[in-house]
């Protein structure tokens, strides 16, 4: 690195920082976001949380209902993730460069993944709500579509990354397509894929809360109900239950990940 490149780098950094500052200013003007107000809010909000978000004795009576809803939501997210993983496995195998059947299917798989990933879960859940109504299937389908998009991309990446040489070796021995995929590609990528699936289970439990608020199902609806009834003690209890569930799932998947990878 000579002096010239160093100076050029420095200029690039300065210009970049200037652009960022201008953009920050513009976006706070558009959203009428006030930095000072925002800063003042943080201690206020934390103080409010400590004084109001307390789990009291009487809210504990609501624990069975909350746990039931939480179980429904958790199971819903797991089911959505697993079934999405099966679909994504096929899409991933078709979409990957090393294992694609033909170009058309490959582009098709990538297209489906991209569209279902980029249309937000919110849009899916609102559209599905119109005809499926207020029940778990709506949430399940909304999570399912988003998860297929994400997992297909992840699976395509791990298949591309892992299997080049073993695919070549099996092709050289005259193995059929199904033998190559079944004996080389999937066993090799399985740990990576399971790791993605576990990550998605955790993400989906959190997303399910959002979907629940929109579609009126599961723990999200319970939260929304207590929130609108201004019953903040119950809100605290619901939040606590979600936090504990997510942390348990997180710890379990971290353990599995550590062993299999």
């Amino acid at each position: 690195m000579n002096e010239k490149t160093l100076r050029k780098n420095r200029w690039q950094t300065v210009i970049l920082l200037l652009i960022i500052i201008v953009l920050t200013y513009v976006s706070s003007a558009i959203t009428s976001f006030n930095f000072v107000d925002g800063l003042v809010t943080i201690p206020k909000a934390i103080g409010w949380m400590f004084s109001n978000l307390m789990v009291t004795q009487e809210t504990l009576d609501k624990l069975p209902t909350i746990l039931e809803k939480l179980a429904e939501t958790t199971f819903m997210s797991i089911a959505a993730t697993t079934i999405a993983a099966v679909v994504s496995l096929f899409l991933g195998v078709f979409g990957s460069k090393t294992t694609k059947v033909n170009n058309f299917l490959s582009v098709f798989a990538r297209f489906i993944a991209s569209v279902s990933r980029n249309i937000p879960v919110v849009a899916w859940s609102l559209v599905l709500l119109l005809s499926f109504g207020q029940n778990s299937v709506t949430g399940f389908l909304a999570l399912f579509v988003g998860t297929v998009g994400f997992l297909t991309r992840a699976f395509i990446e791990s298949i591309d990354e892992a299997s080049q040489s073993s695919v070549e070796a099996l092709t050289a021995t005259g193995a059929t397509y199904f033998q190559i995929v079944g004996k080389a590609v999937i066993p090799q990528c399985l740990p990576q894929m399971i790791s993605w699936v576990l990550f998605m289970v955790e993400t989906n439990i959190r997303n399910a809360t959002l979907v629940g608020i929109l579609t009126g199902t599961g723990i999200g609806y319970t939260f929304d109900m207590y929130y609108k009834m201004l019953n903040y003690n119950a809100v605290a209890l619901v939040t606590l239950c979600i936090v504990i569930t997510v942390i348990i799932v997180d710890l379990m998947s971290n353990y599995v990940r550590k062993v299999i990878l």
């Binding site: 976001f33 429904e72 797991i78 089911a79 697993t82 849009a123 778990s136 299937v137 399971i194």
Partner: protein, 280 residues
């Protein structure tokens, strides 16, 4: 010579695979996930579901949405402005999050901070991550009132958690020699960060920030719809839940889709340029 002990199955065949712990855990994970999936369908609440008509209706709805998009309650200019609002919310949450995350991740990197502090920061981050973003926004909305402050602050939390993890991993990969050289030249902790760690990781950090911006755009749409944070997400919510106007839902979905595609293209390029190992 090592044939002292050969595991055999009941019918006398030799075990071909020696099952190690990894394989066993992997198999159990798959089995448990499958079982839980089947159990899940028993737990579902099927109230008011008529599957047949729901599917045909959804197909029709999707057709109207995607093939006949139109605006009726918004003008085109307003729609673009609302997309701008959503982008701005995402941008503010990302930038403020990045600044805070930078300092926190200095405390979370094991090669820059004592073990005790890194552990505290990591537990703190894990807790933040466990609360869904929408709950953060709603909780802040009580204290700050509905508005951009609540939305940005609520989205800030997950941005910080995500970026602290990414940043601290990047810091930990900094060549140990650089740190040692600066230390032996008498550099203080801040000198080490400013002239050793920051220059060698800066581009990495920037691309992580951009990746988070892409995620935050989606989050901002969701927050508009679920927590009334404004922007295009709120219009999406109004169009589908109040006006039942599928054509408008379609138009807004297309608008979101276009922005999301653009962001994705840029972030894929960034990934290819700065993380060649993780992309193809």
């Amino acid at each position: 010579m090592e044939a002292t002990y050969i595991k055999r199955k009941k019918d006398g065949r030799i075990h071909i695979k020696s099952g190690n712990k990894g394989d066993r855990v992997l198999r159990w994970t798959v089995v448990i996930l499958t079982i839980l999936t089947f159990v899940a369908f028993l737990f579902f609440n099927y109230a008011g579901l008529e599957l047949g008509s729901a599917i045909t209706e959804t197909a029709y709805n999707l057709k109207v949405m995607f093939l006949e998009p139109a605006l009726s309650h918004l003008s085109l200019g307003e729609a673009i402005y609302q997309v701008g609002v959503t982008l701005s919310l995402a941008f503010l949450a990302t930038i403020i999050g990045a600044v805070i995350a930078f300092f926190l991740s200095l405390m979370a990197a094991t090669n820059l901070a004592p073990v005790g502090i890194t552990r505290i920061v990591r537990v703190f981050v894990a807790f933040i991550r466990a609360v869904p973003t929408v709950l953060w926004v709603l909780i802040f909305a009580i204290a700050a009132g509905l508005g951009s402050e609540a939305a940005v602050l609520g989205m800030l939390f997950h941005s910080i958690a995500y970026l602290v993890k990414a940043f601290s991993e990047a810091f930990e990969e900094v060549d140990k020699g650089i740190l040692e050289a600066l230390q032996s030249a008498g550099g203080s902790w801040w000198h080490i960060v400013k002239s050793g760690v920051l220059p060698s990781t800066f581009t990495y950090l920037l691309s992580w920030v951009f990746l988070r911006f892409e995620i935050n755009f989606g989050v901002a749409v969701a927050m508009g719809a679920a927590a009334g944070a404004g922007g295009i997400g709120f219009d999406l919510f109004m169009a589908s839940s109040f006006y039942f106007d599928l054509r408008e839902v379609g138009f807004i979905t297309y608008a979101i889709l276009i922005v999301a595609f653009l962001l994705e293209v840029i972030s894929t390029r960034l990934k290819k340029r700065y993380f060649p190992a993780t992309s193809d």
